[in-house]
Amino acid sequence: MNAKAKLEERFKRSSMVAALLLVVVAALTLEATSLIQYYYAEKGLKEEATKRAESQLENTKFKIEGVLDQVEATIRNNVRLTQWGFGHLDSLHMITAIIVRENPVVSGSTIALVPGYSRKYPLFAPYSYIDQETGELLSSSLATEEYDYPSKEWFTKPIELDAGYWSEPYVDVGGGEVLMTTYSVPIRDAKGNVGAVLTADVALDWLTNYVGGSKVYPDAFNLVVSRKGEIMVAPIETLVMRKTLQEASKDFENQDKVKAITESMLNGESGMRVVQGKTNSSHVYFAPVERTGWSMSVVIPDKEIFGEIKSIRRLVELLQVLGLLMLVLILSFAAKSQSQYRVMSEKKEKMENELTIARGIQMSMIPKTFPPFPDRNDLDISAMVVPAKEVGGDLYDYFIRDGRLYFCIGDVSGKGVPAALVMAVTRSLFRSVANHEHTSSHIVNIMNKSMAEMNDNNMFVTFFCGILNLEDGHLDYCNAGHNTPIILSGIRRMLDVIPNLPLGIVADFAFKSQKTVLKNDDGLFLYTDGLTEAENINHELFGEERMIEILSTRRDASGHLAAMEKAVNQFVGDAPRSDDLTMLFIHYIMTEPGVIKRHLTLENDLEQIPRLSKFINGIAESKNLDEDLAMNIHLAMEEAVTNSIMYAYPEGVSGDIEVGAIVNDSTIEFTISDHGMEFDPTARPEPDLTTGVEDRPIGGLGIFLIKKIMDSVTYRREKGVNILKLIKNIK
């Protein structure tokens, strides 16, 4: 046993001895008081009443806090989404609908813009709510002149306090006269300005049922009043929301005492007072709900407390046993939690290690070799992640399939291991879905559906996905709430995007895709908000203007990113980086007119040869090549590709083989490339064709035919890629 374990053992033993002692002492004390209590029954009964009243207050508070927590969490979870919505005002409505639809406690929600925040709308407050009668989710707007939301308490208070605020309760006259309250929080934009107030309406019918229905004694009753004294729950229903506590208690006897109690309650104090009347007197217990400013009270008539003096003894004994049991429970729980705390601090150290590992795994999931396609002369791609101190959830990816570049960039909400995990899931989903789908909207819709269905943590991903046809520059893209990419085509401008919604929020959302065409030499710059929202020491943001300024100098893909990184570093200086910064640059180069470019991706399987045949036939037809020439080219290409299929990758390992063709009027230039083992087929000796049958080697015919048929055969190895180039003159 090492020293640490010994110490722990000793700690455990001494705390157990202490606990045992405590229980024994408590038992003795209780036994002694029991004797005294028998004689001082009144005192005991009073304590009993206090206990009941306090636990009633405690339980009520617990119940209320539970609902408040739920509502506050709902709002908290949607703060980021709302911030995102500042850039997409048309989507705010959707967000309020989501809040109401996904949270049964919330019966209405609005996002009310600060007047003047939007240049387009002086007032803007989309509102979603559940119709009390039909249960339907309806939508409307609070931005009407009659309603004048900027003057309402729910709007002004949270801004004034710069914190979440629970409104005074009110009766919703719209349907069924339900008692309601509203929770509202100010939402700041990326620059730190308050842009809107986000609210959730909560019906309080459960409060009436719960508090009104549970009584500590048959004739006792409960009260709940708002911070201004409005009666929310009372035994006489006609008082609810019609009178304040001050008004209702006016007619009571012993006015001084009653007034004092009312004042204490409205001041948020807790305590107990006895009110003496002529015929009867009562014990009044009260306690506040700090968050909402409400006050609860339990009123017990004295005749209830001291009515059954004969059964005290048994009651007291029972209570003692219960008390003791509770003490044992509490003590064992305390001992356990203390040892848990020790385990936790050890875990913390381990967790920091795990965070480093999470970061490592995350980084290994994104492509990092540049240029990624050294065999292509029509594409220049560069990407970069500048990590923040904390693990974030940025991702990008790209690959080429059948002459199309599939690419994406995304940003998971939140930070830490959960964000890293969602990032990993998103990247895997993109790979598996994009491998079978041909349009960006299909890819995004499928990804969104599976992410929304497993999204228990309210996380979401802003995502941009594109498919660039490298033959003609047609770009099909779909934006899921991500930052608008910049297109560098003569002038630098924002790409025209529909924001849609981020991934993972609404499973059946129909994402819309868009199309544009990239011309020769056009660039596409994608980034995450870590770039535009990079902050310097004065809390200024890097912003889109600076970003576009950097992009207006002509550079290649990696040059753009290096310049951007340098500019951000200069701007941020020593300020801490709070978010990952990710950038992806795609530079498209189209070959001159009259030139046909084709591309094909094959798996290393001989069954793929018919696809190659189709590919070559297509090229032969487009150039009207005569049959013999077409067959020769076909033969040479089949030999070259077969070579790659058979020998590039070890047996049982699957890999891709890329075939490219650039055809002009006089030549066809083929490129066959793979990521397999280094192998130069041109280095093989030529078979001797003059020997007789017996000495004739059986292999080596393939590469020999290639050399015989093609006018130029060259091999090079570049960045782990075998590149075989075949040129045939066709004039």
């Binding site: 040869i609 013999d628 049958v693 393939g702 020999f704």
Partner: protein, 100 residues
């Protein structure tokens, strides 16, 4: 790709129909390897309906030819089209086979 084999006394006629590309050659190779047993007689490769041949197809031809050389038989290639004749010429196969 289709192969029709007809045996009459010591003459085996093999009709090759279609494209003898690399995947096809894998199948055809399995079918024709047993015929190396008959290489002491005459093997006729009838290429009237053969439109294309790759190096792996050529290898099958060469294997049969080698077996015949060992066993004292002969291999005759019949009815090849111009494109395939051209491939035979490039690879020196015209000197190895009796081409009719």
């Amino acid at each position: 790709m289709e192969v029709k084999i007809n045996k009459q006394d010591d003459v085996t006629t093999i009709r090759l129909i279609g494209r003898l590309d690399t995947p096809a050659a894998q199948e055809v190779g399995k079918e024709l390897t047993p015929l190396q047993e008959n290489a002491n007689g005459t093997i006729i490769l009838d290429c009237e309906d053969l439109s294309y041949i790759s190096s792996s197809g050529l290898r099958i031809f060469l294997s049969l030819r080698k077996a015949a050389a060992v066993k004292g038989g002969k291999v005759i290639v019949k009815n090849i089209n111009d494109s395939i004749r051209n491939v035979f010429m490039m690879t020196g196969f015209l000197n190895l086979f009796e081409v009719e």
